[in-house]
């Protein structure tokens, strides 16, 4: 059972690392677009290589086979034998998608769909065939039957020329050689002829496979150094009934014909040498040293056979604990955050012992020191709270990172030239907020590309550069995070929006609306997808959903637009969902908390700015707007201090893009409050977002401003209905 769990954990680690590797490949490939950088290609290659290796180890032969052909192409780019063409880059990017899909299927324990992979492999083979015929066969065999990938060692017979390769390797590996088994290094210097190769006895520990090491990868690596002959020893394999497929019972004798020196060969075994018995014996002169049987090629399939056995059996071990890799799963936390926490807890312990001393032997004159200690405790606690909240904070870059690819693909599709600028990627916000804001952001970016930015021709005609700019920016501002999506396109067309809104009866024909009100119309459900549906932004969530998601997170959206110059969508969100910057309000004996972000201002009415419409709806004239007045005591059925509006205070609130004035008796302190769920033990209550706990231990309810407004409007229409 524990082995299953261990396996599952290692497997999850592989998935996580694969996804990271794929992201690395993707971002690398996108930068290759602009400049061919050797280091970047290397990075991409390494990512592909480890995905291939890991997939092979865990028996995802489809993934490793496909990745192998990708790797082959990358290898040629890396070696400089192939130029970096946009054509090849596109195929590589698509390959990243295909691999990602395959890894996702593997993670979900679904059968891997090979349709995309097969189509793309033939594309890869086509590209590979364009130049360099020998590689072709390797790629082809890899794509069709992965285990065959193990066979090519003889094909890589080339390194007769490797005399030139040896010197530059030596300086890198000399230091490593010294620290490794020195005895053999001495052997390597023995006279008696030219070093021709190594005879290696490799007896891995039983746990070899569980530590994610695949002997075949090691052999592949060795084969790259020269000609390799492998002999597998199967004597230790127990009877089938006792066979534990997760353990490696095989050992090998390897005969490597290569001028590579010991350190270079030992490097290949770097990951396994701690737990394995490895004996290196140099081969000198013309002949193979005595005792090494010259292995017939027929031995090779044996190694291949062993591999497919582990490959088939490893997955069979782990389908039991189908742990859900759900959203709320794990959290990767930077080490320094954890260290900071540990430090703080240490300080807390010190403060606690200080206080404990007072409790033991209290003298009245100690009161000053007691106060000091308490002040320290207060500070410690606050810092601890901040640090704990920090753990959930992730940089928004996690969300931004997907946009280069998205913009790359979309701009191609739409025939637009776009320069994407990201800034503030390190701005941190709560993991939950981050996850929930990602989809709305994608929608906004798609919208900006599709509707915001013009075609190159139109841009040139408007006297702008043919390349449009799309900026994504994030920054902190007073306890919130602000995310901006800005384009320098045509801007929103006020007249068209207004015309369409009138056409749909959303706005009265003679209504006078401010620019902001007009822009906000695009958030109305069913509005944005009028005759603007396209392949790009007709899909997915509409703007109404974007706004709802943002409101659900306690944030709001604002649109700024200048015709011909572009538009900016500004999203303001709370940094975390666990803590709220709250304003305490009192109505009668009850105290409520309202989110500070939703409060525009608080005013005392003198009476003349209140008017009644239809004898029922009370309106408050605030600047140029008339705001409906919500009497909170009435809505919640509480006995207030006074029912006279001029006695109380009017809190101007903004929710869902509309403003209301709420009548309360008194404004109390502003403070950060920890949000507790009402639903955990009770249920959702209209108009309430949750509860929090006062310093004295009593509960205060947190107002859900948008919900409150909805409740108010519903009640009002009901009252009107009854009156009519």
């Amino acid at each position: 059972m524990s082995i299953d769990q261990e396996m599952e954990e290692i497997l999850q680690l592989f998935f996580e690392e694969s996804f990271e590797g794929l992201d690395t490949m993707e971002s690398g490939l996108l930068t290759l677009d602009n400049s061919a950088n050797r280091e970047t290609i290397n990075t991409i290659f390494r990512a592909a290589h480890s995905i291939k290796g890991g997939a092979g180890t865990f028996g995802f032969m489809e993934i490793s086979g496909f990745t192998h052909s990708v790797e082959t192409l990358l290898d040629e780019m890396r070696n400089g034998t192939r130029g970096i063409t946009p054509d090849a880059l596109q195929v590589l990017l698509q390959s990243v998608d295909v691999i990602r899909e395959m890894v996702q299927s593997a993670q979900a324990k679904r059968p891997i769909d090979m349709v995309g992979a097969t189509a793309l492999s033939s594309e890869l083979i086509r590209i590979l065939a364009q130049k360099g015929a020998p590689v072709n066969s390797a790629a082809e065999s890899a794509a069709s039957s992965p285990p065959a990938a193990a066979a090519p060692p003889p094909a890589i017979d080339a390194p007769a020329t490797s005399a030139s390769a040896a010197p530059d390797r030596s300086d890198v590996s000399e230091a490593a050689a010294a620290s490794k088994s020195a005895a053999i290094a001495v052997n390597g210097n023995l006279p008696g002829g030219v070093l021709e190769g190594w005879r290696i006895v490799f007896e891995p520990d039983l746990s070899l496979l569980k530590t994610c090491n695949d002997p075949l990868r090691i052999f592949d690596e060795l084969a790259n150094l020269g000609t390799l002959e492998v002999e597998a020893h199967t004597a230790k394999i127990p009877p089938f009934g006792e066979l534990d497929p997760t353990q490696c019972f095989l050992s090998w004798t390897l005969c490597l014909r290569s001028p590579a020196e010991h350190a270079r060969v030992a490097e290949v075994f770097d990951w396994v040498d701690a737990n394995s018995k490895i004996v290196y014996e140099p081969i000198y002169g013309a002949g193979v040293s005595a005792g090494v049987p010259s292995l017939p090629a027929a031995e090779l399939p044996q190694a291949g056979g062993q591999r497919s056995m582990t490959a088939a059996d490893v997955p069979a071990v782990q389908p039991v604990p189908a742990k859900s890799g759900g959203e709320s799963g794990s959290l990767r936390v930077a080490t320094e955050k954890v260290d900071a926490l540990i430090n703080l807890v240490g300080e807390l312990v010190i403060t606690q012992s200080m206080l404990g001393r007072f409790a033991e032997k209290y003298e009245p004159q100690d009161i000053e020191s007691l106060r000091r200690s308490l002040a320290q405790l207060t500070r410690n606690t606050r810092e601890l709270q901040e640090s704990v909240l920090q753990i959930r904070m992730l940089p928004i870059g996690f969300s931004f990172n997907r946009f280069p690819r998205l913009v790359h693909d979309l701009s191609r599709k739409l025939g637009k030239k776009v320069d994407l600028k990201l800034s503030g990627e390190n701005t941190e916000l709560d993991k939950t907020v981050l996850e929930k804001i990602s989809d709305p952001l994608v929608h906004l970016v798609r919208n900006a590309l599709d509707h915001g930015l013009e075609s190159p021709e139109a841009r040139l005609a408007a006297g702008k550069s043919d390349t449009g700019t799309l900026e994504l920016n994030a920054f902190h501002e007073g306890g919130s995070i602000v995310i901006e999506v800005r384009d320098d396109g045509a801007g929103l067309n006020k007249d068209r929006i207004l015309a369409k809104a009138r056409e749909r009866g959303l706005v009265d024909a003679d209504a006078l609306l401010s620019d902001e009100n007009i822009y906000n119309l695009i958030f109305v459900a069913g509005f944005s997808t009028a005759d603007t549906v396209s392949d790009v932004s007709g899909r997915g969530v509409g703007m109404d959903v974007v706004r709802r998601n943002i409101n659900d997170l306690g944030g709001h959206v604002q649109i700024l637009s200048v015709p011909g110059r572009g538009s900016t969508i500004r999203i303001r969100l709370p940094l975390t969902l666990a803590i709220l910057e709250g304003q305490m309000l009192r109505v009668g004996k009850e105290i409520y908390v309202a989110s500070l972000v939703s409060i525009i201002e608080t005013v005392q009415s003198k009476g003349e700015d209140i008017s009644c419409v239809a004898g029922r709806t009370e309106l408050f004239k605030h600047r140029s707007d008339y705001l409906p007045i919500i009497r909170l005591y009435d809505l919640f059925g509480i006995e207030p201090d006074s029912r006279d509006i001029t006695d109380g205070l009017l809190v101007v609130l903004e929710a869902d893009g509309r403003r209301v004035a709420m009548l309360v008796d008194e404004l109390l302190a502003q403070q950060q409050v920890v949000i507790k769920s009402l639903e955990t033990n009770f249920k959702q209550v209209p108009g309430l977002a949750g509860a929090t706990i006062h310093g004295d231990g009593t509960v205060a309810l947190i107002l859900d401003v948008p919900g409150l407004v909805r409740t108010f409007l519903e009640r009002q229409s009901m009252q009107f209905g009854r009156a009519a």
Partner: protein, 163 residues
């Protein structure tokens, strides 16, 4: 007859916590009881039924408090120093819930097996039959055994459909 899962059929004796409401003794399966605490102020929650007094802070958790007298349609009485809140855990549709029940006073802990619980007569005063498991006759005393889980889940948490 409705089946009540809480009645053990194996004849093993179980423990019940008893409490007073308007002079009558009631009992609940003690395994449902998490703790008993003194009556303290509650925070009223708007749009709640009259038997929900409000919510309290139970070591960081927000817990609703039910006035059991009102819930069982008994005559209400002023709270005094003996008034206590019995905190129970029940399995709701969305996992375990913690709910406080205000009673006049706690009384005793009894042990009896399911056989000692007789099905309730047609009407136990004004009591809602659905929440009564049965009557336990103990040394000339009659104790009404309540189905706390059903009472809490079906009415307090607004999960009637789930019950």
């Amino acid at each position: 007859m409705t089946e009540h899962e809480s009645i053990a059929s194996d004849g093993a004796s179980r423990q019940y916590l008893s409490f007073f409401l308007g002079g009558q003794e009631y009992a609940t399966d003690i395994l449902r009881v998490q703790e008993i605490k003194g009556w303290d102020t509650v925070t009223r929650v708007p749009y709640s039924p009259n038997y929900i007094l409000g919510v309290i802070n139970l070591r960081g958790a927000i817990v609703p408090v039910v006035d059991l007298r009102v819930r069982l349609a008994l005559e209400s009485a002023p709270f005094d120093s003996a008034t206590v809140v019995i905190v129970v855990r029940v399995a709701g549709a969305r996992g375990e819930r913690i709910v406080g029940l205000v009673v006049d006073a706690v009384s005793d802990v009894y042990s009896f097996s399911a056989e000692n619980i007789q099905p309730p007569p047609e009407a136990v005063g004004s009591l809602d039959q659905r929440y009564v498991l049965g009557l336990a006759n103990l040394e000339d005393k009659l104790v009404i055994v309540l189905d706390i889980e059903r009472l809490v889940v079906s009415s307090v948490l607004g999960e009637t459909k789930a019950a």
